[in-house]
Symmetry: C2
């Protein structure tokens, strides 16, 4: 069947979806979700593409005789679809679909089978519902070490990768703790010790701020691969957004479906972390594993089990990994939100005595492990060296150099970083001590105030678990770029009693 | 966030999907696949709707400040969306999503949990990828008897249902054998014996012809519920297309996702069959279970196991079921394709001696079971009575009455049914006997010739397994409505050697 191409100004997320009129589809014997083989009628040089079919029941969108192609499909295959007419024939599911079924049947996949699934996911030959089925199959039936190694390699090969030599270091966190701006401290410490650390990070998805969001307050973070190479070779370090690079597109495709399914099975999580590291040429990694309610690892035992598996898989793909189980019961430091976190990190880099202590301890703990792995400190002496570097101001100088190399203003002072401008402070209405800090409520308030889209919005937590407070002490502050969003965030604070949980010292009265 | 409504002339299959510009979505903190709560700004009488978000990156489709609503969503919620402006806020996944996760974790679902999943599937509150995940979870972890009963009832309640009194009969087939036009023989036999049999059937999806496709050659098959009631009360029987009624929409929504996933787990298959029967008020059912390669039950043992489970679940929802395991190694009768099958069935109804024998035996076997269940024949005597009714011409008279009641031409003669007009006959090129008939090749040739969209296309198999043939005997014939499609179908025949497998009698030469 030959159909006239009509461009649809619409992205579907599914790279290879085309729309036919219901009449044509019936004539072809195809229904929504079936596959069709597309071949340009005019160009002899175009290659055939397999697409998944969507159906239009209204002629105004796609009339009989027309085929609708979405802009993301056009962008991806410009030369193959640059044609007035396309011939369309029914096509079968790719072989990789049989391998998805094999996993659903509880069988182990071979390396070439995993590679086929990943290649077809990347090229758009597997539909979103087929990938949802694969992810569910992995969530239920799991992946063994061999499969996870194979998946890591297949995902890495799906995109571009960098080679910065044999000694590349990195840190990563499995996430789940608010205010975790440790990367902004660790990278300059490690780079100041002359270790290579080309850090890519993500923007926030479900949290108020990701490392990329915070770094963007200080400098541009989106670079293509050529720019990145120059940058990293100059400073031996960077803090950039991984999303601007074409590393591991297959992993991103899976994540886009895992996210709405609220699924992050270990069989996919470990390859996801490692593939981003392998793509950047990382050979030595410290993995921060926050444990506790609200994280992926409710108990330290869960975290420990994960750490042991992770280290094995990492080793099998050539990455030496050390894992650190960390506390996640309250925010790291005081600030939550892109600008507030950048400000807190820069304040500490400039002046060690400014603290906060939790940020110093966690950052130097993790940086110390990397310094030991890199032979810069003896075993057990890493944190000491990390603290020295931070205290000496060398980490601050390195951070200024990184900001400058990425095109930011290296001379910006923390107090010049714009926050708010709408602000609301909360004071203790009675004396006592803090028994708990509610992370999920903090996240909710910060997001309601505008995070992460508004960089200047966020919250500050002035008193944390264990602190004694007097009536009238400043305990919490909300910042927002909009007075109406500030009002909504205040409302959440007031209706819940706030995320700072106060208790008396008395446990029991007899 | 308040957005201006823009209507999109496009059906998505996902009932409740809306499109926002990427800028607005980022400001709202939502990504593709997330949920939003919609509320009309103008109308106080509209109810809030929860929709799944899609993102537009081009302003020409959806500009910042606009929200795109698809026509299927408009059709379903006209009063709630008939507004210029809609307020949009982030929303959480419905409770039923947690129940889907529970099934994925291998746990048993309660009745109210299954009902919640089905209600949210019907209302569009669960996305396609969430339903794909549910179906995969059921395929892996299964459903027990209690869950299947609950699912049957929930699916039945999702749509309209009929009550034709306490004695309603029906037959159903699990499918997989070509040329299975037995319904066109069974319904008039059973109805001629004064049993109530309001048969709904499906159009072909992956096969050359469904019962609905064949019946449509003889009479209209699409009726709304009021028309159906009149029809059934008049003749005590009908052969209509279930798709025109609003019975069990939830089941159709699941099937639309099971189909491209090539999944039909027993935990969903049994409720799917029974819900369609319950919706039609069926109390007594004979289930035809073809067993063999290419069917859902490769061996009779598989079919037997399924039959026992099926009977139990049927009983629990008030349906008495008898199951018949049947042969599926070659087509029933000779004809495959809508018009050819209608012609073969009508030929037999008019003249018992016309055969074919396989169609007589299978139809009267199944009809006989229903006659016994309905007290029209003693146990073991049903087939005899069915043959008598067929032989007497009473079934033919009843079929003419049904055709007439549905608005068809009751006086049409089988030889007047239009087939072809492009035809190609194939002759034996050597003597021998038929050792096998290749069902899947027959289906492929019939579909290539134009089935089921072209009613007049199809194939006839003149010689079947066990037949002795001479060189020059007519063995196979292809019919098509298009000379080019006929050519393509011929090509498949010629390149494969054809679906009629010929062998000599000698097994071994010593």
């Amino acid at each position: 069947m030959k159909l006239k191409v009509k461009q649809l100004q619409f992205e579907t997320g599914n790279i290879l979806v085309v729309v036919m009129n219901s009449e044509d589809a019936a004539r072809l014997g195809q229904k929504a979700g079936d596959r069709v083989l597309l071949k340009s009628v005019q160009s002899k040089y175009s290659k055939p593409l397999i697409a998944i079919l969507d159906i239009s029941y209204t002629d105004s969108l796609i009339a009989p005789g027309e085929i609708g192609i979405f802009i993301d499909t056009f962008k991806r295959f410009p030369q193959d679809l640059k044609t007035d007419e396309i011939s369309v024939t029914p096509a079968e599911a790719p072989d990789s679909f049989a391998f998805i079924k094999k996993k659903i049947q509880g069988k182990k996949l071979e390396g070439n089978e995993i590679t086929a699934i990943i290649n077809d996911a990347t090229s758009g030959h597997l539909s979103q519902i087929e990938l949802a089925s694969f992810i569910t199959g992995v969530a239920i039936n799991g992946m063994d070490d061999y499969e996870m190694s194979a998946l890591t390699l297949a995902e890495t090969n799906s995109g571009e990768f960098f080679n910065f030599g044999p000694n590349v270091f990195d840190k990563h966190s499995t996430g789940g703790v608010p205010g975790n701006k440790v990367t902004l401290i660790i990278v300059p410490i490690v780079a100041a010790a002359e270790l290579f650390i080309p850090k890519t990070s993500t923007r926030a998805i479900t949290s108020p701020s990701g490392t990329a969001d915070s770094m963007e307050v200080l400098a541009p973070i989106a670079f293509d691969s050529e720019e990145l190479k120059k940058l990293v070779l100059k400073e031996k370090a960077c803090i950039v957004w991984g999303g601007a690079l074409d590393i591991a597109p297959a992993d991103n495709i899976l994540i886009e479906i895992e996210r709405p399914l609220h699924m992050d099975p270990i069989g996919l999580m470990i390859p996801s972390i490692l593939t981003k590291k392998l793509s950047m040429g990382v050979k030595n990694l410290v993995l921060d594993i926050p444990c506790g309610p609200g994280t992926k690892f409710p108990t330290p035992a869960d975290g420990r089990k994960f750490a042991l598996i992770f280290k094995d898989i990492a080793k099998s793909v050539g990455v030496t990994a050390e894992c650190a189980l960390t506390l996640a019961h309250q925010p790291i430091g005081h600030a939550i939100g892109p600008a507030l976190e950048a400000r807190e990190a820069l304040t500490l880099l400039r002046d060690y005595s400014a603290g906060p202590n939790s940020l110093i301890e966690k950052s130097t703990d993790l940086a110390g492990i990397l310094l030991e792995m890199g032979g810069k400190a003896e075993k057990g002496k890493g944190q000491e060296l990390a603290k020295e570097i931070l205290h000496s101001g060398k980490a601050y100088e390195k951070m200024k150099a990184i900001i400058s190399a990425q095109g930011g203003n290296a001379n910006i002072k923390p107090e010049e970083i714009k926050v708010g401008p709408y602000e609301k402070e909360f004071y203790a209405i009675k004396p006592g001590h803090i028994t708990a800090v509610d992370n999920s409520l903090i996240n909710q308030i910060a997001k309601t105030a505008g995070c992460p889209h508004s960089k200047t919005s966020g919250v500050e937590v002035f008193k944390k678990q264990g602190a004694r407070i007097k009536e009238g002490d400043l305990i919490f502050k909300i910042y927002s770029d909009s007075s109406s969003r500030l009002k909504k965030a205040e409302k959440i604070y007031n209706s819940s009693g706030g995320p700072i949980i106060l208790g008396g010292m008395m446990i029991e009265r007899v």
